[in-house]
Amino acid sequence: MRVLMFGWEFPPFQAGGLATATVGLVKGLLRQGAGVTLVVPFTTEGVTLPGLRLLSADGPAPGLTLHRVPSPWPAYGGVPAYEEALAGMERHVRGSSGVYGADLFQEVARFAALAGEIAAREPHDVIDTHDWITFEAGIAARSISGKPLVAHIHATEFDRAGDGANPIIVERERRGLEAADRIVANSHALKRTCVARLGIDPDKIDVVHWGLDSEAHASDTPVMPVRLASPTAGSGYAPLVLFLGRVTWQKGPGNFIELAGRITRLVPEARFVVAGTGDLLPAMLERAAELGISARTHFAGPVHGAEVVRLYQSAAVCVMPSVSEPFGLVALESLRHGTPCIVPRTAGVAEVVANAFKADHWDLDEMTDKVVAILRYPVLRDELSRNGRSEIAWPRFGLEEPAGHTLRAYRRAVSPAVGAV
């Protein structure tokens, strides 16, 4: 099976799960013997796709061809973030204006225009795409090669923006999913969203939960923990409560700050780390100051690679207060490192992981209770840590098994007679 895959590039920081998921999928497919041609937009200087760098570090990956197409677009930033990135890039690369599309939609269109050309050149049996930004490219590629089109959906615009959904993006999503021969959603929750809000035929959607690349998250490698003195005098190191994700509406950073305020009253020795960046960051800084917890709340900014591992291994608990979480890879990463995790009840990951606390994102009391319990009772923390870690070692949370399910979805796209996943 030769796959022509259209992905979207992404800065080297832990800003979102799309690249992690894409790279994981590519690795898994390669291990399953599939050939993958991954087309991704070009990155600016110093910006790399960490997973792909990993592949090339082992020499050229057999079966993988990489095409890069220029783009300043960070995967999940939204239209304003694109404009900002574009402006920054034009400042950076002098005299380059005109090389890059003037807005995100032009960028998507340009990517699609190049897709047809690549489809004519690259031999393939199936075309795969990831979210709306690449759907146009997939449709263009199919119109040239006539091969079946698979659409991976990681999150819909409703998940990212709620009522603030951009109607043009919603329309692109709908068009891409309707055009696709098969769809792969990363959770039942996301499948339901596609059916209920975008009117997609449920029989066309396979659910494949994500797994983790155990190489990228080898938790056995010792790292230097982040140790911060307790804010209350004389009680040693502070237990860290971690938020890791984009500081945007979808991820519920505001819930985390409110939670921090409540936890501070109950566990005064705790400190809080917000790792990531996004449009809500200034508001979060302000709110932390307002709650009087600035000195114990650390805004680490975007973190990457070894720093992510350090944070997971240093945190006493990781909290995902996301308003919407179609899957939630952070939970798997956290558990892999033995850090207990609190996930939204509606998250895709909650469908498959047993050893994580679940709470509604709006139920701050419930989340406070759970965090405080983990901080106060080492026995509980150890139990969650040990069980979470051993659960994540199951093959279903690796790369091969999800890749195997995805391959089956490809086969069904190629010959619809193949049975369901």
């Binding site: 140790r227 911060l228 302000e286 100051a289 600035s294 680490a300 720093e307 350090r310």
Partner: protein
Amino acid sequence: MPDICLYAQVHQPYRLRRFRLFDIGTETEPFDDELNARIIRRVAEKCYRPANELLARLLQTADADFKVALSLTGTLVEQLRHWSPETLESFQRLVGTGRVELLGETYHHSLSSLADGREFREQVVRHRRMIREVFGVEPRVFRNTELIYWDGLAPVISGMGFSGAMVEGADKVMGWRSANHVYEAEMAPGLRLLPRNYRLSDDVGFRFSQRSWDGWPVTAEKYAEWIAGAEGDSVHLYVDYETFGEHQWAETGIFDFLAHLPGACARRGLRFVSPSTLAERAPVGTLSFPHPTSWADVERDTSAWLGNRLQYAAHERLYSLRSRARTAADPAALETWRRLTTSDHV
């Protein structure tokens, strides 16, 4: 015809580097030495050295009464010593003429007056000791960070032996009164207050190169004419020293302006006086500053540093660490902490 009191503030903070979560608890210094060296050398080249040379020449050739007052922060003097010692020497030569008066202030250009009285006094005393050691003179007149002043500070300044203090001639305080006089402090009758004439000061400091302003271009002749036309006993012109060559580039003609100012003033019978001479004059009245006032922004208060909750939280947190910095095993901790008190950081 009013006298002229010309004063310039000379300050550079220790600029901070990006200090990340992962740097906490490591030996990493919060200051960016490379950046600091670069900025000090650039400002020395563009402003301090040419301005000092010009002043030295004017003090030699212009009318015998031309004089100027400067105030150099401890953080500036230290950095000059490290990265541009020849510039520090040129300041020393200027002071050596006996016609460049140096003022007192906090060593670290801090907001300590608003936070901690003991710390404030220690920083002022330390600054005075530094001025004595480096320049061999004794500051007589005080200027607080960014001209922050309010009634409660008067007895403290007076108690440390200063005869006068520079204050902002803010409308809300001056009311119908003119800033062009010497006043006395309501809470410390021995302390003379020298209010800044912010219009004439900002004509040079802010508006000098602003072509949309109907006063542009400001020539030395035109400016001397404005001063000569001002009512009152003395016009107090306070600017940042970086006005000359850094805020206003040499291309704007700022150095030519300064070069011709003493002559233009002399031709109109305007005389230059030093702040300490002014502080010996009899006051025309009393000024009361019920709230902290400064020369910053249009608000002329402390909102530039403590205007939002985030700044206030950082300020509170910083000063709450004072006793820990003082008792820390590492003697460098207190100095690091003090460098963080520099007002530029909030």
